[in-house]
C-alpha cells in the first residue's frame, strides 16, 4: 500500500502549485436512508493539510456526508450508497480496503463529547490498545503527546486516572480529540465539535484546529459562520443534500458565485 501511495504522491505533486494533494475525493455520491435520498450527486475534494468547513442548513446532509467518509453511516442497515469515494487513491468501498483500516486513518470527533466511562488515561490509550500496542511506556508517551496535542495536558495531567466523566464538557471534547490523535490519523472529521461548548472552550478548540492542520487534514461541520470564516481554508456549502458551492473560504464569504450561498451566509435563510 505504501508503495502505491508513494507513486500517487509523485504524480500529484506534478499538478499546479495551488493544488495540494487530495486526501478524499468524492465523485457522484448518492445516499439513501431507506426511500429518502439524503445526498445527491456529491463531488467534493478534501486536500492535505487544509481545513474544510462544511456549512448548510439543518438536515441538508452535512453529518451524513461526514459519516460516509469513514463509513460509519453504513452502521444503519437501511443506508444505500452509490458513486465513488477514494481516500488517497484507494476506493473506500473496496473489499480490499478493510473499514477498520480506513477508520484508523480517518478519525472522528462527534457533536456531543462521548468519552468512555473510563479514566482519562484509558480513554486516550484505547485506540492504540485495540491496535495492539501493549508497551506501557510507549502508551504513556502516546497519551501524554496526544493530550498535549489536544491542548488539555496541563488541565488533566494530575488526574489521568480519574473517570473522564468528571471533566467539563469542553475538556471532554478536547479529550475526545486527544483520543482521536492517539492513533495518529491522517484526516480528522469533526461534526459540530463546539456546538455543545461555551465560548471559551470553543475558542480553545478553534485554536487547536488551527494548530492541528499543520499535521492533519480536517473537515469540520459548523453552524457558526464566523467559525467557518475563522478556521477554514475552504468552505463547502450544502443544501438539500447537494453541494451548491465549494471554494476557498475567502471567496465563499466575500464573493460567492451562487445566490443561495450568499443568502445563507448573510443569514437570509437556514
Amino acid at each position: 500500500m505504501t508503495e502505491l501511495s508513494m507513486k500517487k504522491n509523485v504524480s500529484i505533486q506534478e499538478q499546479p502549485e495551488e493544488e495540494r494533494e487530495s486526501v478524499f475525493e468524492a465523485q457522484g455520491v448518492n445516499l439513501w436512508y431507506g426511500q429518502t435520498q439524503a445526498l445527491h450527486n456529491i463531488h467534493l475534494k478534501q486536500r492535505e493539510q487544509e481545513v474544510t468547513a462544511v456549512i448548510g442548513p439543518s438536515g441538508c446532509g452535512k453529518s451524513t456526508y461526514l459519516k460516509t467518509l469513514n463509513r460509519m453511516v453504513e452502521m444503519n442497515p437501511e443506508v444505500r450508497i452509490s458513486g465513488n469515494i477514494s481516500y488517497r487513491g484507494r476506493n473506500i468501498f473496496s473489499r480490499r480496503f478493510p473499514v477498520e483500516e480506513l477508520r484508523t486513518r480517518v478519525g472522528m470527533v462527534f457533536q456531543k463529547p462521548n468519552p468512555f466511562p473510563k479514566s482519562v488515561f484509558e480513554n486516550v490509550a484505547y485506540g492504540p490498545k485495540i491496535h495492539g500496542i501493549r508497551d506501557k511506556q510507549l502508551l504513556e508517551q502516546i497519551v501524554e503527546e496526544s493530550l498535549k496535542g489536544a491542548a488539555i495536558w496541563e488541565e488533566v495531567k494530575d488526574r489521568l486516572h480519574e473517570n473522564a466523566f468528571g471533566l467539563s464538557g469542553g475538556q471532554q471534547q478536547r479529550l475526545c480529540i486527544a483520543r482521536c490523535l492517539a492513533v495518529e490519523p491522517d484526516v480528522i472529521l469533526m461534526d459540530e465539535p463546539t456546538s455543545a461548548l461555551d465560548p471559551k472552550s470553543t475558542m480553545k478548540v478553534e485554536e487547536l484546529v488551527r494548530e492541528l492542520k499543520e499535521t492533519y487534514s480536517i473537515m469540520i461541520v459548523t453552524h457558526n459562520m464566523q467559525q467557518a470564516a475563522r478556521i477554514s481554508d475552504r468552505t463547502a456549502f450544502f443544501l438539500n443534500g447537494e453541494v451548491v458551492e465549494c471554494d476557498t473560504t475567502d471567496r465563499i464569504f466575500s464573493n460567492p458565485s451562487d445566490d443561495r450561498t450568499e443568502d445563507y451566509i448573510t443569514g437570509r435563510f437556514g
Binding site: N70, M72, M75, P77, E100, E101, L102, R103, T104, G107, M108, F110, K112, N114, P115, F116, P117, K118, Y126, G127, K129, I130, H131, F165, C176, R179, C180, V183
Partner: protein, 310 residues
C-alpha cells in the same frame, strides 16, 4: 364569570367537604399498611428463625455446628450436627450452576443487545424468557431422568444422584435471569459509546468487549450475583436429583445434600417437634437466609456503586 356558580367557587366548595379531606388523611395509612405487610412478614420470619435457632444452639455448640464435619441428625444414639457438608453441597452446586449460567447468559445478552436484528430479538427474547417460567419441579425431573443418565454415559463413575447434574440444570434455569438483566444493562449503554469505539477502527467485537461490556459491567455483575442468590436458594432441583448424602466433599460425582434439600428432608421426614434435629432446621434456614440476603445486598451495592451516569 362573576356569577356565584363560577368554577373557582365550585372547586372551593368541593374542597371544603369534610368527607374528601378525611379520605385524603386516610390514604397514607392505607398505603403504608400495604407496604408494611412485607416488612412485617420479613421481620416475623426472621424472629421465628432466631427464636428456634437460639433453642438449637442451647443444645449444640456453635463450634460443632460450624467447624465439625459430621452431619448425622437422625442418628438416635449419637447424633452430630455440622453445617459444613450442607454448605459444601450448596457452594458446589452454585459454582457449577454459575459455570453454565454466566457464559451462556452473557453470550446470549451480548447477542440479543449487540448483534441480533430487531426481528431476531423479538422472536428470541420470549423464548429465552420461557425458560424462566418453567416450574422448578420440571427442571428437577429433567435433571434426574434425563441429564443424569446422559452424563452417566460419559462419566461412568457418576452416582445415580449427584451434585453435577442438578448444578448444570440449575445453571440452565438461571440463564434467562442473567441474560435478561445483562441485556438490559448492555442496551442502556448509549450508542455514542459504540460509535466512539468503532470510529477508531475497532471491529464491532472489539468495541463490545472493550467499551460496551465495561460500560455495563455493574449491571452485568449484579445479574451474576442475583443468579448466585437464586442458585443458593434453589430447592426442588437438588432435592430431586442430588440425593441426601450429607458428605463433606468436593467430588461433584457424588450424592450430596444442600442446605435447602436438608430442610425439605427434615421437614417432611420424621424429626418430631422439639427434637434437636427439628431445631437444626432453623439454624440451617437462618444461615441460608443470611447468604441470600448478603448476595442481594451485594448486588444492590454493586449496581449503585458502579453505576455509570451517561
Amino acid at each position: 364569570m362573576a356569577s356565584s356558580t363560577n368554577v373557582s367557587n365550585l372547586i372551593a366548595e368541593q374542597r371544603s367537604k369534610s368527607k374528601r379531606r378525611k379520605l385524603e388523611k386516610l390514604v397514607p395509612f392505607i398505603l403504608a399498611g400495604a407496604a408494611s405487610i412485607s416488612v412485617l412478614t420479613t421481620a416475623g420470619i426472621l424472629l421465628t428463625l432466631m427464636v428456634e435457632t437460639v433453642m438449637f444452639f442451647s443444645e449444640v455448640s456453635f463450634r460443632e455446628f460450624f467447624t465439625s464435619t459430621d452431619m448425622q441428625p437422625l442418628n438416635r444414639s449419637d447424633p452430630s450436627f455440622s453445617i459444613l457438608p450442607l454448605l459444601s453441597a450448596t457452594l458446589l452446586s452454585t459454582v457449577i450452576a454459575m459455570f453454565v449460567a454466566v457464559p451462556v447468559g452473557l453470550t446470549t445478552a451480548v447477542y440479543l443487545s449487540e448483534y441480533a436484528t430487531d426481528k431476531a430479538r423479538r422472536v428470541l427474547k420470549p423464548i429465552v424468557e420461557v425458560l424462566a417460567g418453567i416450574p422448578t419441579i420440571v427442571y428437577g425431573f429433567f435433571a434426574f431422568t434425563f441429564v443424569t443418565p446422559v452424563l452417566r454415559e460419559i462419566i461412568p463413575m457418576l452416582d445415580r444422584t449427584n451434585i453435577l447434574s442438578p448444578g448444570i440444570v440449575m445453571g440452565i434455569m438461571i440463564i434467562p435471569m442473567v441474560a435478561s438483566l445483562s441485556e438490559d444493562a448492555l442496551s442502556s449503554v448509549p450508542n455514542s459509546m459504540r460509535e466512539g469505539a468503532m470510529a477508531f477502527g475497532a471491529t464491532k467485537f472489539e468495541a463490545v468487549v472493550r467499551v460496551v461490556i465495561p460500560a455495563a459491567i455493574s449491571g452485568i455483575i449484579a445479574s451474576f450475583v442475583l443468579g448466585i442468590s437464586r442458585a443458593i436458594g434453589e430447592t426442588m432441583i437438588v432435592t430431586i436429583a442430588s440425593g441426601s448424602n450429607k458428605n463433606l466433599t468436593f467430588d461433584i460425582t457424588q450424592s450430596m445434600q444442600t442446605m435447602t434439600a436438608y430442610i425439605v428432608e427434615v421437614t417432611s421426614g420424621d424429626a418430631g417437634a422439639g427434637t434437636t434435629a427439628y431445631y437444626s432446621l432453623y439454624a440451617v434456614a437462618i444461615t441460608l437466609f443470611f447468604f441470600t440476603l448478603a448476595m442481594n445486598m451485594l448486588a444492590k451495592w454493586i449496581s449503585k456503586r458502579f453505576r455509570e451516569v451517561y
